[in-house]
Symmetry: C2
Subunit: 131 residues, 2 copies
């Protein structure tokens, strides 16, 4: 099996704007965000289809979503977060967390800027670590 880009991130072969990781899951900012704070949660096992993800990885991913969403909201001043698993663009199951209401912080043009992403990730991590 070819390693997915997410497996390469998990193995630290590709850098990411890390938000959280443990033995089962990793979360980081989407490198091509559609909204401020657009984040991904990925199990640390490369399985394409959600149906086939082992239950401990699967439940860990959705459980993290309940913790990460409020941290994104608090850190970035965004409101409600949408959860989505529509993607087939990377054959490695993952959740998108995407703010779906109006952002209070402007910056659409700089969403994908590395320095801006790094700062966002730092803010979100600091809120997660307080929790």
């Amino acid at each position: 099996m070819t390693e997915s880009i997410f497996t390469k991130i998990i193995r630290k072969q590709i850098p990411c704007h890390l938000l959280y990781e443990d033995d089962l899951v990793i979360a980081f900012l989407d490198i091509n965000p559609v909204r401020l704070g657009h984040s991904l949660i990925v199990p640390k096992i490369q399985v394409d289809y959600f149906v086939d993800v082992p239950v401990n990885y699967y439940q860990a991913a959705f459980s993290l979503a309940q913790k990460l969403a409020p941290a994104i909201q608090k850190a970035l001043g965004t409101t409600r977060i949408g959860l989505s698993v529509v993607g087939t663009e990377v054959p490695h199951f993952h959740l998108h967390l995407i703010p779906i209401e109006q952002d209070r912080i402007e910056g659409i043009r700089t969403f994908g800027n590395a320095a801006v992403l790094a700062r966002q990730a730092e803010l979100i991590r600091s809120v997660l670590n307080q929790a």
Copy 2:
């Protein structure tokens, strides 16, 4: 709190094309399907935002998704199912299960037809009950 349409379905005040139910969750066909087999999984507690759903209801909903998706595929001849929680149209947390690849059964025009929905629900239930 106003009762959501889903709470009315759960209380049997409004009929549905039932796929599955237990103490925590209910699943039924979407009455306005965007694809053949478009289904909803709803926890039996009226909570708007996924972050706030009690963990047992929340995990039961995602756990059911792993069982229901293969049943829809087998029953209706659809292929991969997408999972989505984007909706804010009903203020009652729910998962959409939507076939995302080409259907092998034709019938776009009749997706919302009550008799067609009833037959689909029957097929999916029969597969679920075999499992």
